[in-house]
């Protein structure tokens, strides 16, 4: 009898001391979700209360860290991974909100179809699938029935939405890298996700015309090969980064002419713009206007990869600079491959641009230059017309001609008394 009492009271004391198990459910979910899945499942041996607690966690992440598989034999590693995921999904009890699968052993298996089918029956909100190696993984059509999806991230996949696909009504963030998608499927996808705020596209194929019609889009990041890009109805877009990996042009003179219009007109509120790889060349081919019809008054940060040796690109860059009165930070990266070309730009255009005052420009970074005339002219231009400049950082591509470059830089006049020119070693 006494034993019983003693045990009962020790039980109470333990209850008192055990503060962890009495935390609210969503807090325990949060703690377990921050553990690798392995540790989370192991909590089931702690005590009675914890036996099935892990099965309720809403986030399931299977990646190389959570499921370390000794990579001796690919097949065995793969099998083990499949086994683990099957088990966890089967034992899981509760809504799954986030599912991430990104493991290097996950190649050439069709089990992913089965898991996606399982997930389509729950109210999943975030789905990340990364197929590290092998050919594009064809996604099953049940993926397109994830109605509650808010974030979708795919790597190395092939998307073929069924004809009944009406879009992801709640999707806010879409990240597609190394994907294959047909042109009409792409357009349909973008336009049928009305709440889309963030779009990332890298290394895509199957579509080359990018007509971005997305009223809530705020973030747009693209890197790939395309022929045509236009924004429609994208008035909320504040961050745009466009990288054209290989130069392709429409070939159509009319479309060439309105390129600028197509791109900039519907970006009135863009705050951060990155023009990477060959995109400036794409914009520049066929000539650039002196100034954009409407200034980019919200533009604070501009980064351009430019071939200083190309007159058209220079004028394209100047066009954008002239239309960005509130620019705070500028980054110019010289495009490497055209460095050895003979200097083409000899005409000094600096004095022509007296109208371009970069009133608020504070920080300039220039990298990859080699000291040719056009580069120096550009630097001179920037120094002359930026009264509030605080720092300019210059990093040449190589050590050759470094001294000459510095000698030239020393001579340049500066509009800003506080301007600091920092020369970095390559």
């Amino acid at each position: 009898m006494l034993q019983k009492q003693r045990e009962a009271s020790s039980f109470e004391i333990e209850m008192e001391l055990d503060k962890l198990s009495s935390l609210p459910g969503h807090v325990i979910d949060q703690i377990l979700s921050q553990l690798p899945i392995k540790d989370a499942v192991r909590t089931s041996v702690l005590s009675r209360k914890w036996r099935y607690r892990w099965a309720k966690i809403p986030h399931l992440v299977f990646d190389n860290q959570c499921v370390p598989v000794p990579s001796q034999d690919q097949t065995s590693g793969k099998n083990k991974l499949i086994h683990i995921i099957d088990h966890v999904l089967l034992l899981h009890n509760g809504p799954i909100q986030k599912f991430k699968l990104s493991h290097r052993d996950l190649i050439g298996i069709s089990d992913v179809d089965r898991w996606i089918l399982y997930l389509s029956r729950s109210t999943i909100k975030e789905f990340v699938l990364e197929i590290w190696k092998g050919q594009r993984y064809k996604l099953p059509s049940c993926l397109f029935s994830f109605e509650n999806l808010i974030h979708l991230e795919l790597f190395n996949c092939l998307l073929k939405p069924p004809s009944t696909f009406k879009g992801f009504r709640s999707l806010k963030s879409l990240d597609l890298q190394h994907v294959t998608l047909a042109q009409d499927a792409f357009e349909n996808l973008i336009s049928s996700c009305p709440l889309l705020e963030k779009l990332t596209l890298m290394n895509f194929d199957g579509f080359t015309h990018l007509k971005i019609d997305s009223p809530n889009l705020q973030f747009f990041d693209i890197g790939g090969v395309f022929e045509y890009i236009s924004f429609e109805n994208t008035f909320q877009l504040t961050l745009v980064s466009v990288g054209l990996y290989a130069n392709r042009s429409d070939g159509d003179m009319f479309l060439e002419a309105i390129k600028w219009h197509r791109f900039f007109t519907n970006l009135p509120h863009v705050r951060r713009l990155e023009i990477q790889c060959h995109f400036l060349k794409y914009l520049a081919t066929g000539g650039a206007p002196r100034m954009l019809p409407k200034p980019c008054s919200d533009l604070n940060y501009l980064s351009m990869r430019i071939n200083f040796n190309d007159w058209e690109e220079n004028s394209a860059a100047l066009c954008i600079l002239s239309s960005s009165p509130n620019l705070l930070e500028l980054e110019l990266l010289a495009r490497a491959e055209e460095h050895n070309a003979v200097e083409k730009v000899t005409y000094s255009w600096v004095e022509d641009h007296y109208k371009c005052h970069l009133e608020h420009l504070r920080l300039v970074k220039i990298a990859g230059i080699s000291g040719i005339r056009s580069e120096l002219d550009f630097i001179r231009f920037l120094l002359l017309y930026s009264p509030l400049l605080e720092r300019m950082t210059i990093k040449p591509a190589s050590l050759d001609g470094g001294w000459d470059l510095m000698k030239e830089l020393l001579r340049f006049r500066r509009a800003s008394v506080q301007a600091e020119i920092v020369y970095l070693d390559p």
Partner: protein, 347 residues
């Protein structure tokens, strides 16, 4: 000194204060901008107009005791100042969460009831870091969790998907141990058939109390097994435990498992078979062996030796563990009959 006097003496501190009352009745005055960093307090002030005087002090939720309130306010006092850089904030956070786990849990609870999400994020991350990578025993000790799972439940066979011969051997040993336990239970319960039934219903009761429907199923299975012949019983049980591998995979299963994990090196190569195949092969093997086994001192010694040798190789404190398990049947025999019929081993 009244409130008014305080205001006169320090005119430069023209801050407004609000009144907070913790569950124990203690009322205190806190700078308004600091306290309002907590959404719950913010709502009370803005929406209900509370906190302006001692009589209208804001009643804080029960989970917020004065000590925790003071910690929460320290956090708020630092973070509500806009001037700090991210680096400074991170550095403050790192130092802030350095406290014993009991207080960390209480702080998490308090922050949650005040709806202060950044602090909940910080503390839950800290708790996750404490749990990560530790053995179940360590975790139980740190957080004072009751060790109320039966040895049965803990001794679930490890999922041997790495085909490590050591794991296989260990599994076999565990299985033998389990069998021993069952033998002892049978011997003990030979004369007390009714008590036996009582035990199980208590089991069910406990599981029911803990709201664990799966457990009741497990105990029912146990019931079923005991009525069959030994061999088939064991085979079924191993199958059952495999099926109801509620503890998951090679992640879980036994306290000692973590020790083994540490020892596994990728260079340990052995023939790779299909997972299921191996498991069944093991079971058959095990059954054959057990047909001849009898629990006698010689065998016990043999097992002891095997296990010790094994443990030495794995560098685990096995002898002590084994002592406990073996003494389970002997010392605790009278205790079995009591309420704690589930036979859990209290450390």
């Amino acid at each position: 000194m009244s409130e008014a006097d305080m205001a006169v003496i320090k005119p430069e501190l023209m801050k407004s204060y609000i009144w907070l009352q913790t569950a124990d009745g203690l009322i205190q005055q806190v700078e308004q901008e600091v306290a309002m960093f907590c959404p719950m307090i913010y709502q009370e002030v803005i929406q209900k107009g509370m906190g302006s005087s001692k009589n209208y002090a804001i009643s804080l939720p029960q989970r917020v005791n004065p000590a925790m309130l003071s910690l929460v306010l320290d956090y708020c006092r630092f973070h509500q100042v806009p001037g700090h850089s991210n680096k400074e904030r991170k550095s403050f956070d790192e130092k802030f969460i350095r406290m014993d786990t009991k207080r960390l849990c209480e702080l998490t609870s308090a922050a949650d009831s005040l709806q202060l999400k950044p602090l909940v994020d910080l503390t839950s991350r800290a708790l996750a870091r404490i749990i990560e990578g530790k053995t179940p025993e360590e975790i139980r000790e740190i957080f004072h969790l009751p060790d109320d799972l039966t040895e049965e439940e803990k001794l679930e066979p490890l999922k041997n998907t790495t085909d490590d011969p050591r794991i296989r051997l260990l599994n076999r040993l565990y299985a033998k141990k389990r069998k021993e336990l069952k033998e002892r239970e049978k011997l003990k319960n030979a004369g007390t058939g009714e008590e036996h039934v009582d035990d199980r219903s208590v089991d069910d009761l406990l599981s029911f109390i803990n709201g664990d429907s799966k457990m009741t199923k497990a105990s029912k299975n146990k019931k079923k097994n005991r009525r069959r012949k030994e061999k088939t019983a064991l085979l079924n049980e191993s199958v059952e435990t495999d099926k109801m591998e509620t503890n998951g995979l090679d992640f879980v299963g036994h306290d000692v498992e973590h020790g083994i994990d540490c020892q596994l090196s990728p260079s340990e190569s052995s023939k790779f078979q299909d997972v299921e195949e191996d498991f069944f092969a093991r079971k058959v093997e095990f059954d054959d062996v057990d047909m001849d086994d009898e629990i006698d001192p010689a065998l016990k010694e043999k097992i002891d030796r095997e296990v010790e040798d094994f443990a030495r190789r794995l560098k685990i404190d096995w002898p002590e563990r084994m002592q406990e398990i073996l003494s389970f049947g002997q010392e605790r025999r009278p205790v079995q009959v009591s309420l704690n019929g589930s036979g859990s081993l209290r450390k």
